[in-house]
Symmetry: C2
Subunit: 192 residues, 2 copies
DNA sequence: CGCCGAGTTGAACTGAATCAAGAAACGTGG
DNA sequence: CCACGTTTCTTGATTCAGTTCAACTCGGCG
């Protein structure tokens, strides 16, 4: 059950078996069903989640009531409202379940205890966030430099998971276009 | 000369005087004049820079030849092409000088040596990147949810430095609009 | 003094949003 | 396992925020 977590951690920062035994004790397994919430915007974000199976997504709702997907988390990915998680302030995003999910959950207190128990995990999380930061910069630059169709084509090639496993209207939201526009783009791409 | 660096580090992770003496040895002071490059896109990104004085900016050029500002770095901020810096791959962004700058420079080798010499700095950089990540998420969500004028108003209140110290056409680029549009927005805001 | 880059203004254009209506797919309960 | 209601997706017509192109002004610097 902790295999995927072990692989992900040791691929960035090798850990001994004892260390990993210690690490395991800080995680709490949690099953979540489709549409359930892990975090609600405006409330406390208690959890940092590692997805073992299933899909989670974080999103925000704008002034006009439209949803905007911030992140999808597939198997092997981490998700949280990092701002809320680390500051204790109310979460800015909601996190809910797209496919029934089995996750391993860290509370903030447990994360800090874990850093004390296994200090090299500071390095692991540093690199993890660093990679996320680079990926987010890419997405940001993409929205500044590419038109909707180009962004969709890039999504198809770089993140085929998103294109295939996620409902189309959420893909649209992630790309920053309306569902209607994505529908037209797909039609147009097919014709070519 | 290292005062600002000391303050920034110790505000997140207290360090002893000896530790800071060690830390200092890994940094190389560097003066840069307006329009000079610290990093060129497509070339190796050798440096992670801490800005003591002046302003740097990272940007990319799209297929149509337009510049898009990725980040501004004022006094007390860090800047690099993180992807290139950590992977050794060619940089995706260029970094150049907006106001004559005095920076403290880390090479990748020195950063890793510094992590070995003062392991608690892993934690410092983890938190630093974490904060940058949250800020970037905010910017991303802003571009998904707000219109150009709203983004400008938010910039005025949240990042007055950018609005006042940066040439207008670069502010436009950072906001993701053309210089003409920003000019019109400012006119419109004045009237109100 | 003259030039050049930065900023402004106007007019025409366009990519994507919005509004509206229908078709398809989905899942829930009988 | 089918029927019904609810989402999701598609398609069309219209609108609009922001771009593009072009001309002009201003301020600074060589």
């Amino acid at each position: 059950m902790f295999d995927l977590l072990y692989n992900k951690i040791s691929s960035l920062t090798p850990v001994t078996d004892e260390e990993f035994e210690t690490i395991k004790t800080f995680f709490m397994p949690k099953k979540l069903r489709k549409r359930q919430f892990l975090v609600q915007a405006e409330e406390e974000c208690k959890y940092l989640a590692f997805v073992e199976k299933g899909i989670l997504r974080s999103y925000t709702i704008d002034a006009r009531g439209n949803e905007h997907v911030v992140q999808f988390a597939f198997e092997g990915w981490w998700i949280s409202d990092l701002f809320g998680f680390f500051t204790g302030e109310p979460a800015t995003f909601s996190i809910d379940v797209i496919e029934n999910t089995e996750a391993l959950i860290l509370t903030h207190a447990n994360l800090e205890k874990m850093f004390v128990a296994v200090p090299k995990l500071e390095r692991f999380f540093r690199i993890l966030i660093q990679n996320s930061y680079v990926a987010l910069q890419r997405r940001m630059v993409g929205t500044l430099t590419l038109c909707a169709e180009e962004r969709y084509m890039r999504l198809l090639s770089h993140s085929p998971d998103i294109a295939t496993r996620i409902p189309q209207h959420m893909v649209a939201s992630y790309l920053g276009v309306t569902p209607e526009t994505l529908s037209r783009i797909r039609k147009h791409v097919l014709v070519k």
